[in-house]
Symmetry: C2
Amino acid sequence: MRAQVLDNLRQAIIERQFAPGQRLIERELVELTGVSRTSVREALRELAAEGLVTAVPNKGTVVASVSAEEARQLYEVRSALEALAGRLFVQNASQAQHAALVRALQRIEKLAAKGAPVLAAKDAFYDVLFEGGGNDALRSVVAGLHARVSLLRWLSLSVPGRPVESIGELRAIVDAVLANDADAAARACSRHVEAAGRVGLQALAAQDGT
Amino acid sequence: MRAQVLDNLRQAIIERQFAPGQRLIERELVELTGVSRTSVREALRELAAEGLVTAVPNKGTVVASVSAEEARQLYEVRSALEALAGRLFVQNASQAQHAALVRALQRIEKLAAKGAPVLAAKDAFYDVLFEGGGNDALRSVVAGLHARVSLLRWLSLSVPGRPVESIGELRAIVDAVLANDADAAARACSRHVEAAGRVGLQALAAQDGT
DNA sequence: AGCGTCTGATCATCATACAATCTGGTCGCC
DNA sequence: GGCGACCAGATTGTATGATGATCAGACGCT
């Protein structure tokens, strides 16, 4: 199916199997994926809509690369949106969802203590957060942005010390939520994104420098 | 080209030439637009990515309809984003852009005084606002939401008295901007969206009732 | 009436073909 | 030798016809 192809390509791009800026030639993708050109084209169109590739007319599609300025803007938007997510969680989440958020944080802390990869657990944390907010539109918009900054996320998690710092920020979110303080939760979410953004931009700059 | 077809379809949907919920059959669109199935399919995929139509596998695509709950959520997100837009304008806009914002408001007021349609002028106002903020990512995200609520906008502008009220809210934005008060600008933008949302939801409820 | 089946409509995917466009290099001219 | 026109290859854009899959509803059987 096309969805399968699409997921494979998306994954490949996020995992840097295709370098940013690299041309994605339809014929090559055809023989690489085994599906027809029609399906490849439609998959590319969807990726373009997600912002993971950019299509230039009559020239082809290339893997999108985030400039420092774009990245900064994306983080700015995400900051505002995740602030809203935090606020909505405080306003709308059930008792069970509060508990689930706490559990998600504990899971992250446990993994981090072992030095295990923490990325999937963080995604779970955010799932709970958005779920509790009860705004699917918000969730899908953030998901759209998420794809575009995922390259940077890949970088920023490799920065030493960042996971520890990051968990502290998450704890601040949970604390504010448990205190039923919507404003504080919003600020905590905002700060978390901003901190991630700073690290991401630094990593980007370091990479461009080398 | 495909872009042409896409624009036509988008316009047709926004202008209610296709009723929400109506099935869009590929073959019909082929003979209606004169282009091939390939192009029609790709255009439909893009519209689906924008959220203007929903595609159900093996069943076809139907014109999207916004439920009251979805609309509420969309306005909630827009409120947060436009607050950011207002804040960024205060922080980043040039002197010339400040002046342009004032001019845009005056143009709206002049049109409204004559009872002329004010929608295009309002779009121009927002163009200036986002331009001055200097965050293209924000602009494109909002544009994406905009498409999905445009059906409601169509409704809410037909509510008597709304234009007048709306202009007052815009003036509040401009006042805050001229006072260089970023927080106030953010709040004013937020309030404007929320007010529009309330009217839109009322109009939606009234329509569903009849 | 209830149930399974069959049929028609429609989408999904594919293979192929051809035109339009871009890229890069070559050739001829100065 | 340098410069521009032109040509060939590559790639995308669009079109077309065919085939399989899937769904909704009609139909007939019990």
